[in-house]
């Protein structure tokens, strides 16, 4: 069970990472998109390359109680402010939006606020299904 006292808390802010043309091109190429005209601009789902590794690192906090081997990604939402571009220095802040318990399992929603050097670039909400230890 997750620690309900964490709802509303801001859990971590990642160190700034510079986005390169190569990192955008690699993300796009993995999805089969090799259009040379858009390799400086990331697609909206690129935000998860910051927020999902940050979410998995929450498992390192024993007080929170998150066992990432019991996690299934259930929903994802993006609200971009502007596209991420090569040269942006991005960092993410993760906030515990809600924890709902359903039949011994937890539904955890995290809000990842991603910012560049000049302000916010977008928000990524990640909802995880965390299977209860009894199941």
């Amino acid at each position: 069970m997750l620690n309900l006292a964490y709802v509303g808390r801001s859990l971590l802010a990642t160190a700034p990472v510079e986005v390169t043309r190569e990192s955008i091109a690699a993300f796009r190429a993995a999805l089969g998109d090799t259009d040379p005209g858009r390799q400086d601009v990331a697609p909206p789902t690129f935000l998860v390359s910051l927020t999902l590794p940050a979410a998995s690192s929450l498992a390192d906090d024993p007080d929170f109680g998150l066992d990432y081997s019991r996690v299934l990604h259930r929903e994802q939402r993006f609200e971009p402010v502007r596209p991420v571009r090569a040269g942006d220095r991005l960092s993410a802040e993760l906030i515990v939006d809600s924890i709902k318990s359903v039949a011994g399992n937890d539904i955890l929603t995290l809000r990842g606020k991603v910012s560049a050097q000049d302000g916010p670039v977008g928000t990524a909400w990640t909802t995880l299904f965390v299977a209860g230890s009894a199941s």
Partner: protein, 133 residues
């Protein structure tokens, strides 16, 4: 443009090599997307695509149609079913169709996305808002 009108209909093929490339590029290295033994240990029949891989294909179809990533606003999906990816060049086929849900007063288009693998709706519901160009 009216509710129900088809905006685009695209088909993509997903191979295990694509999942390995996506794991590296996205930092999502959960082994259930890379290794049959790990997938089976998690109760799956075999390797499945990252939910975010499939959502990435939906984003690609949206961006191809909209012509500009900057037009995509409020993009949301629920991962309803898995996309099993068998080994080999065949991989799995995923199709992404976009239809008009509603046209807002400011000209933004609410798009319903139908994302399927075989008979399964794998993202459901899936929606986006595309602002005017």
């Amino acid at each position: 443009m009216n509710p129900g009108d088809t905006l685009f209909d695209a088909e993509y093929r997903v191979r295990r090599a694509d999942l390995a490339a996506y794991a590296k590029a996205s930092g999502d290295t959960n082994p259930i997307h890379l290794d049959d033994a790990a997938a089976k240990a998690a109760g799956l029949p075999g390797v499945i695509a990252h939910g975010m891989y499939t959502m990435g294909l939906a984003a690609r179809a949206l961006e191809d149609w909209a012509g500009d990533a900057d037009r995509i606003r409020d993009f949301t999906a629920r991962f309803a079913k898995t996309v099993p990816v068998p080994p080999g060049d065949e991989g799995a086929a995923v199709s992404v169709a976009g239809t008009v849900r509603k046209v807002r007063d400011d000209g933004s288009i609410e798009v319903n996305l139908t994302v399927t693998c075989g008979e399964d709706k794998v993202l459901a519901p899936a929606r986006a808002v595309v602002r005017p160009s």
